[in-house]
């Protein structure tokens, strides 16, 4: 077999999780190939211009794109083979990945694979939701922070999670007017510090409100919002029209689990982490022993947790290939697990930690069931 069609470790997705997995594995002498469909590695890090939270060890106080630049420099210095503009479309039973690059299909046989395919924004359907000018908040963030293009002047933000609040602020930084943020729940979903930041700039955060309709001829000219009660019943008397040309949807993300499913990793539905995701153990191993998972694919969290999970997946793959001693692995893995536990503190972290524990339990019962059935 030609050397370029085989590798010890394939990493799919060059966002924060995939970059860290590849760097960590290559550092232990694993022949690693990192594949990404985009022309540039970094995933969504380069559109994150806000400073990260957490402790200094996790890059707190550093803007996302700076962290991205550091990771790219490390990849550059490493022996990782990076295949950009390359789509992974298949995953065969003999651990051969199907790659599509420049109009050509290539096989890549990998002894181990780390899937770090990331996430996709969830849509929200309402009357007029297909009109140009209704965009995902992440899409808007891409346009303003990566490409310097502001797709609207007056904006309604739907959703007060961290993405909604941060992108609302970044829209203001880019020169737009954020007319309002609506939140279906009776409380702000994201960090209060982000909500306070936009409230100080005069943006109303309307709780127990939702968007009913986007109106306009060929693109958004108005949005209709209304209050809702605890059972999502609309109070038509409070209906209001807002003159906006952009409606941003920030109602959460879901793991991009299609490739994991294609690889026959067992999935589980974990609503607070975004939906269907590959079940995994504490070393990030999926139900398919050659496949590891990390980052948003393993449950929607943050870039900082994605990086730690990526490192862990890379190390676990390296360990399973015999590239580091049991003792060395245990020491490094414990350190990462401590970091993850630290990142999962606080009111938001606790729920994510609880979900991760639940995934572990389901993973174990899955294996127990399959062991007693006599198959893999």
């Amino acid at each position: 077999m030609r050397p370029e069609t085989e590798t010890e470790l394939a990493v799919v997705g060059a966002g924060p999780a995939g970059l860290c997995a590849a760097i960590e594995a290559a550092r232990r002498g694993v022949r690693t190939t990192l594949v990404d469909e985009n022309p540039r590695p970094g995933g969504q890090l380069f559109k994150q211009i806000h400073k990260f939270f957490g402790s200094h060890r996790h890059g707190a106080g550093v803007r996302g794109f700076r962290i991205g630049e550091e990771l790219l420099a490390e990849i550059e210095r490493s022996d990782v083979r990076v295949l950009l503009d390359t789509v992974v479309f298949g995953f065969h039973d003999d651990n051969t990945l199907g790659l599509y690059r420049g109009g050509t299909v290539l096989p890549l046989r990998a002894r181990r694979t780390v899937l770090a395919t990331g996430a996709l924004e969830k849509p929200l359907t309402f009357r007029g939701w297909t009109l140009p000018g209704v965009m995902g908040a992440g899409a808007v963030q891409t346009m303003i922070n990566l490409h310097g293009v502001l797709p609207g002047a007056r904006v309604l933000m739907v959703g007060s999670g961290n993405v909604g609040l941060i992108v609302a602020y970044q829209l203001i930084q880019a020169g737009a007017t954020v007319v309002a943020v609506v939140e279906a729940l009776p409380a702000v979903s994201g960090w209060h510090v982000h909500a306070a930041k936009i409230r100080r700039l005069g943006v109303p955060v309307l709780l127990s409100h939702t968007v009913l309709e986007a109106r306009g001829g060929d693109s958004v000219e108005q949005a209709v919002i209304a209050p809702i009660d605890g059972r999502c019943r609309i109070d038509g008397r409070g209906e209001r029209r807002l003159d906006v040309d952009l409606v941003c949807i920030a109602v959460g993300l879901r793991p991009l689990s299609e490739l994991a499913e294609l690889a026959r990793c067992r999935l589980g539905f974990v609503a607070p982490l975004g939906g269907f995701l590959p079940l995994h153990d504490e070393t990030m191993k999926s139900s398919r022993p050659e496949v590891y998972v990390a980052g948003d694919l393993a449950g929607i969290e943050e870039a900082s947790t994605a990086m730690e999970e990526g490192k862990l997946a890379g190390l676990s793959a390296a360990r399973s290939l015999g590239k580091l001693s049991r003792r060395e692995y245990a020491r490094l893995a414990e350190e990462i697990m401590d970091n993850l536990a630290e990142l999962r503190l606080g009111s938001f972290g606790e729920e994510r930690r609880r979900c991760k524990d639940e995934i572990l339990l389901r993973y174990r019962s899955l294996n127990a069931a399959e062991a007693s059935a006599g198959g893999r």
Binding site: E37, L120, L131, P132, A139, M143, V149, P151, Q173, G175
Partner: protein, 99 residues
């Protein structure tokens, strides 16, 4: 209408990028080489990228990461190109399609 961000407290956008031109539905549009086609089109104030075949309903950019396919257009004769993940090249001819 030009929707390029001129002033930003953190970011700078216009440093050292080559200015090129593309044609969008017959209209000359200025673009930066290498930026996604969709960014250049939105920057020019164009919001309708295509119309649906059956209901003639307009579509624009939704996800901007190549997943939703709302922004597909015909580029240099190739139909259904995802404009949000396809880089601009000088002289590209981009046209709306009905799909």
């Amino acid at each position: 209408m030009n929707r390029r961000i001129r002033r930003h407290p953190i970011l700078e956008f216009d440093t050292g990028r080559a200015r090129v031109h593309i044609t969008v539905n017959g209209r000359q549009v200025e673009a930066f080489a290498g930026e996604p086609i969709a960014a250049a089109i939105l920057a020019a104030g164009i919001r309708v990228f295509r119309r649906t075949a059956r209901l003639d309903s307009p579509r624009g950019v939704y996800c901007a990461i190549g997943r939703c396919t709302d922004c597909v257009m015909t580029v240099d004769g190739t139909p259904s190109v995802r404009t949000c993940v396809t880089p601009v090249e000088d002289g590209m001819v981009v046209e709306s399609q009905r799909v």
